[in-house]
Subunit: 756 residues, 2 copies
Amino acid sequence: MTHIFLNAKNVRLGTFCLVLLLSMTFISCNKKEIKETGETVTTDVQEGPVLSLYPKDATEIKKLKDSNDVLKISFDEHQKKADKAITNGIEVPVPKDPGGGYTHEKHKQNYGEMYAAGIAYQITNDKKYATFVTDMLLEYAKMYPTLPLHPFSKENHPAGKLFWQGLNESVWLVNSIQAYNLVSSAISEENKKIIETDVFRKVVEFVSVDSKETFNRIHNHGTWAVAGVGMTGYVLEDQDMVDRALYGSNKDKKTGFLKQINELFSPDGYYSEGPYYQRYAMMPFMLFAQAIENNQPDLKIFEYRNQLLGKAVTTVLQLTDENGAFLPFNDALKEKNYLTGELIFASNIAYAYYKDEALLPVILKHGKVSISSAGLKVAQALDNFELTAYVKKPMLILDGKDGKAGGLALMRMSNGKQDEQLTSIFKFASQGMGHGHFDRLSIFMYDGKQEILQDYGAARFLNVESKQGGRYLPENKTWAKQTIAHNTVTVDQKSQFGGNVKKSSAVNPKLIFSNLEDPNLQIVSAVEENGYEGVKMQRTITMIKDEKLERPPFLIDVYTINSENVHQYDLNFMYQGQVMETNFDYKKETTLSPLGKENGYQHLWKQAEGRSEKNLATLTWLNKNSFYSISSLIDADSRMIFSRLGANDPDFNLRNEPSYMIREKGKKNHIFVNVIEPHGNFDPKLESVQNPHSSVSEIKVLLSNKEYTAISIILDAKKTYTLVIANNSSESNKQHSVTIDEQEYEWTGNYNLKIN
Amino acid sequence: MTHIFLNAKNVRLGTFCLVLLLSMTFISCNKKEIKETGETVTTDVQEGPVLSLYPKDATEIKKLKDSNDVLKISFDEHQKKADKAITNGIEVPVPKDPGGGYTHEKHKQNYGEMYAAGIAYQITNDKKYATFVTDMLLEYAKMYPTLPLHPFSKENHPAGKLFWQGLNESVWLVNSIQAYNLVSSAISEENKKIIETDVFRKVVEFVSVDSKETFNRIHNHGTWAVAGVGMTGYVLEDQDMVDRALYGSNKDKKTGFLKQINELFSPDGYYSEGPYYQRYAMMPFMLFAQAIENNQPDLKIFEYRNQLLGKAVTTVLQLTDENGAFLPFNDALKEKNYLTGELIFASNIAYAYYKDEALLPVILKHGKVSISSAGLKVAQALDNFELTAYVKKPMLILDGKDGKAGGLALMRMSNGKQDEQLTSIFKFASQGMGHGHFDRLSIFMYDGKQEILQDYGAARFLNVESKQGGRYLPENKTWAKQTIAHNTVTVDQKSQFGGNVKKSSAVNPKLIFSNLEDPNLQIVSAVEENGYEGVKMQRTITMIKDEKLERPPFLIDVYTINSENVHQYDLNFMYQGQVMETNFDYKKETTLSPLGKENGYQHLWKQAEGRSEKNLATLTWLNKNSFYSISSLIDADSRMIFSRLGANDPDFNLRNEPSYMIREKGKKNHIFVNVIEPHGNFDPKLESVQNPHSSVSEIKVLLSNKEYTAISIILDAKKTYTLVIANNSSESNKQHSVTIDEQEYEWTGNYNLKIN
């Protein structure tokens, strides 16, 4: 059976359907049922399986593309690529090079060119494109069955045949099977047999049988594998292949695509490795889901787990800063943003199915769509859509397949400037597998587009050959993953869980309570009890906007530590900007030495150390045109340490960025209370400076016991904020009553904030 | 005589004129001649002197402002300010505070509010605005005659009465006399007499007689003084005042405004302190010139010195980077760009007179115009103007009143990206008075909007109180002005001229030859013979674009040093970005110490030192998405030193930025040859990296004697560029012939570039 209506065998039926279709688009002569849910899939004149682009939609794209800019740009890009490929000719070299090498890049290029030619064929019906794909696949057919494992494959890492690693083999399959699907109506039965037998079945065998372990892994590598195999199953009409992809090798649902959806995502659509890898994983998830929807609509894949795939796309887009860059926690490169190709596919499919208009601003920024039935829907929607800002909301995103493995809080409030927010991220999520960092209870913060307190991200220069071939650098492990690289507390100069991923993956932080609904007060409290033996940590982050004051929102950060043993607690802040002032004296070092010997400390040059007789330490810095202050509750034993990254970095792999630490030595229990405050501005045009000083004049702990923590801060020497936190309380309607300094506080819920 | 046609005394004539004017705008009933040159000044119904806004134009602005956005925005800003001022009431406090203090800021605010109210009166004719100005000036009249010198005035710095320094007094006068001019038609004769006698004549006496030395100084402080006094002279119809402003206290033309124009600018319109201060000085220059043009058109002030004032406005705008920020040499703050208020006035007046449409893109970016006859012309022109990029051209800008005190070369070529250029600045200018740096023969470079090789600018946080009250910081002298802070050669770890401004101001570098006309080859050669005793330095910078190669332009930098004594030569590069690779080994320091003890070296932490047995040292770094390399001719004795700014900086005043130095020790004569090359790109979206390596494989000196320097470089291991420089040759049609390696070179002109 073939699947394109212009295929010789079915040309009469096809033509008939086409005519019918053009005059009465609501009548379908398809044998399949008309679907009701969503509108992604316009079932129509159709003779064979379709992965992403229905003939009717191809016709419509052809018709619209000259009047619809986004379609034209998107299609032209494919056609140009295909034309260039045809001019350059086909080369299918024997695999011999590692990542970045010639044959590696050539096989990547090949699947990209086949996919582009497939698209070009569907839209233009020009045979040369189909011939190009056919000829290239026939070349693969000659070579593939004879291939051994790739010469550069590594022990302990799943191997490929075309590529050094199996992951690339799966990606090759995902792309090539789509190309084949797009042109197969133009291929002779004889050639189809050769291609299906000697290429696709062989690759599927390698990916799903020889590499069974990866195929059954609950991991993005597994997702690429099952997506490739499942999509091939639909095209080859091999339900066994499809079922293994969906339900795992043994079809027992213990592994496979559905299990991956169950295990890798939280109910909120959070992918356990974090947004940087979620971006990458969303492509096979959404492409395979689209193929399932087109071929087994009864599975209702887009409805699965409460529309989880839709949530996942929204969540990954929300997990970006105001530049669109993915929030850089875990192993993440800060350069990567939501304009990446994977999210064009994913967001198009999500829009086509869920019709969530909130996605359109991002899609409009992409400036192009996928050439597919989904992409057509998007292009039509964009026609009537005026650009608005993509709305980033305050969000509590729970982690873990059941939502019980901690999570992330995105606190967001207008910072008083147009279309800008103050964003603070509080992370109390699970380890996130091998790409996770030891960063529990860390925070980081943006003011508009500016990074103010940073998460360092990964130490890696992607694909830059001179930087260890573009792989993760040694400093990713020795610095970026360590606890000290994050805005959280490091105990005894060691990383959480001793830097052991296995131990860390076994247990998770816990959300205590949260409220992100109040436009002027967002609060989240979480605990981590396992990072350091015998040390219980609770951090409560409160973002407050006082509408009566002409002041941006600010953060109150209460970090309570309880232990029966004596420890050193280092609360570090990777602030971004230039020091303006402190309210304490410090001594700058005249020669620089590393702050410690290991666990990331060896990478910090110690610049200065301060102390104070006051019990308030304030650091103010300038970033672009705004001032920021951290005001900290301290005592005479506290030390304020300034350091700068870059020590023990033989190859200049690290960015030489600053940090500021409050160090408490010889403490059992301790409460860090900090106010983090954007303030004022520096206008070089008007040569004016407003509010360059912190407005915090006092910070006090009023009460601290197992049940309650109460603190007060004074702003502008007159306004008192008293915050009482009901530790451990997860009931939002519980009645509380407590007397502090002879004053009675009564309230319902997890916390009470009083402003006098 | 009064000057506004609605003044009671002349109301009949005025009304008649108005009617006539509205029906036939080309007929003028003015007694003055109609001017022919330029169109700035629309002489018209006019009873008295006008500084900037003719009644007819005020009427036109009133009419247009509701349909012309830029006029509306610009006017509304003034009116709002005036309304707020009226609501808040008048306060003229006895001066007692220094810069930034209450009374200082209040008197600044007062002249701003009077000016705004003057504008509001002219456009609305609402008496309340005129009353506000009158009442405030009457308050000043009560106080000013009794004022002693300001209590915070400093020895050795010209004092004020309202302000701690005289400069602010002049600025007060420039603004207040304009305000008075705008409303005086509404003031009773009696009050006018009080105001003129007790305020303006008194301030003028203080500025021009008591502070005679500043008044006669050839310096921007002098310009503010003569502008204030001269403009007051016109309004008070006191020609003696005007003449003293124009020709100096003795009216002998040895000082005064015309002499300032003669001495402070080069024939190319370059202001000797550099663009950062030129921006500031252009305001009084242009405001006073406009008043002269309106009141003494016969002086043809805008034609003076070959239209120098027009050139000066163009030059200061050209002396900006692609962000519009002023090129940060000499004491300059990098935050300051051409959107600054001073340049709104200056560029509006320049456009109104010279009608140079090239100015419009900048003016459009301002988003507002001055409310004046000039501003009206601009607003009308903008109505029919579509935004285009402001074109930045390659320019040779000579320094010195006669153009013989060295200069600056702005080399600019497209970098291959849309609307972007590679810009290299070669500085061989005079000292630039007290704000100059010891930076002769330095270069710096931008790629598009990115700073690649920086000039550090000034060490100052303007108006940030905690940074020494916003004044220049100690590190401005100990670091920013020193030779080592610049991309040039420091001899024996000392700054040029031993850091002595007086010595440096006495002699200037010399331009040897230049050609900035060739779109693919821009070349400039200059010498400095006095910076270090007995050391002659010549630097020749060549920017080359090889159109046959798909490669951005690159620089060849030939720096020849001749001396009879042995020295240490440090050629430093303040590169911006992250080190990617070197082709030599280096040893990183495990503890950091300063690179030296004084002359700026004490501020550099030494990070690493390298050496090589090859005679080519290459450093490659990444800045945003592009790679950059410096390839240097070296020998086994050369040292490559990496350092980072920040040592001996007790108050965190310095930005901790990197530098890379080629050090040659124990040399008499030496030639540094460097190729500075942008290359490749890093695309995080596509995860692709192109050309991450330098393409320079060989650098050779072929010949070096008094007459000629010849070097060759090889790119891509095959393409040879041979550059022969005729040292000392300033004749562009001279015939040269030289044999190098048995090959004959014959050419006409200063240089010869051969590409094989």
